[in-house]
Symmetry: C2
Subunit: 219 residues, 2 copies
């Protein structure tokens, strides 16, 4: 696969087939993850793959509880706005994301493969999310969809207990990634163009150029 | 470029030529960055490109001051260990990283292009580092070396003042990325293999497979 195709089409895929992820693909996902940089190359990361139905059965209800908190707090204003003006483009986009994320939550136990990422001491995320994103890009190359969720933070102590994460050692939960072959199609996700979110040599100073449309397209 | 080549060979490149980064390449870097996911697709990110010598002249001394703190605290034990046993493989690896990072600090004003990333409210890093890493991968595809540094955290208020980041708005500094055409060669960085840092269905439970050597090689 062309490198730009991976960068442009790795979008959240939350509607999944139940086919398992072959070990050969799991290897590619993990081996790509560890190629990422970490502060001082300390590689203070741990990755946990979860596919045991008994473990997923414990995680599912916790995940739905976390998502209830997420929808009721962080996204409450956007949900209310979408309810109030359902035909606004922003509302439509939000509800698409909401339904997809809710589908994932309702079927959490059916996700073929979960990856939990942990990072020791790091607090910025700079030493773990490049690795996590590499894992998701490698999955994309192999035709496997993924979705990054931080929702478990809402009940992180329960999650660490289920997964057996020791209290000592300074291991922080960073995120969970869901993996599965997608039922939908790959594509470039809609985004606010770069020139609207980027500055040049000072805050609010214009970039000096525009990028009105994605620079990569399926050829 | 093959997608795996990008994932495997994007390693920190801190010895740089002074050639400027063409606008066409800057566009590719930023446009790839914004393709990354963010929590709820909120895209609460801002990116600032810096290439003005006057701004870099202010940042250079601050960066070196930050690195002094970093070496004297986080990495002090490893530096002392390297001094005590300079022929240990670990010491050799550390000193390579140290000299390269110190070279960058001493020549900070000569870095052709800097990217500062900011994220609103997010504290985990999960909504900004996939974008930052996409920027670094796109640079790699274009033959541009990069290096991610969080050192500016040590004097973040000074940095935000130099860059004009407003105090209101909840914009947190996430990291700085240095960009430039490298003097050295691209390659796969040494890493601890995945099976030593990954578990299966529970903490410390063996992965069940091994990945003794990188799964991708320059063909």
């Amino acid at each position: 696969m062309d490198a730009y195709e991976a960068l442009y089409t790795t979008r959240a895929m939350r509607r999944l087939k139940q086919d398992p992820i072959p070990t050969s693909v799991q290897k590619k996902i993990l081996d790509a993850a560890i190629r990422a940089p970490s502060g001082g190359n300390t590689q203070n990361w741990r990755f946990m793959l979860v596919d045991d139905p008994a473990v997923k059965a414990k995680l599912g209800p916790v995940y739905r509880g976390c998502m209830d908190v997420v929808w009721g707090t962080f996204y409450k204003a956007r949900r209310d706005a979408a309810d109030a003006a359902p035909k606004d483009p922003e509302s439509i986009e939000f509800m698409k994301m909401y339904r997809s994320a809710d589908h994932l939550a309702q079927h959490f136990e059916d996700v073929p493969l979960l990856l939990f990422a942990f990072c020791q001491f790091d607090t910025s995320g700079g030493s773990i999310f490049p690795a996590v994103w590499n894992a998701m890009l490698a999955a994309r190359i192999e035709g496997v969809g993924s979705s990054l969720t931080s929702a478990f933070f809402m009940k992180v102590d329960e999650v660490k207990k289920i997964l057996g994460v020791p209290e000592e050692g300074g291991w922080n939960f960073s995120c969970c990634v869901t993996f599965g072959y997608p039922t939908g199609k790959w594509g470039v996700a809609p985004r606010r163009p770069a020139h609207e979110v980027a500055f040049h040599n000072g805050w609010d100073k214009p970039l000096g150029f525009e990028i009105p449309a994605p620079l990569w397209k399926k050829g």
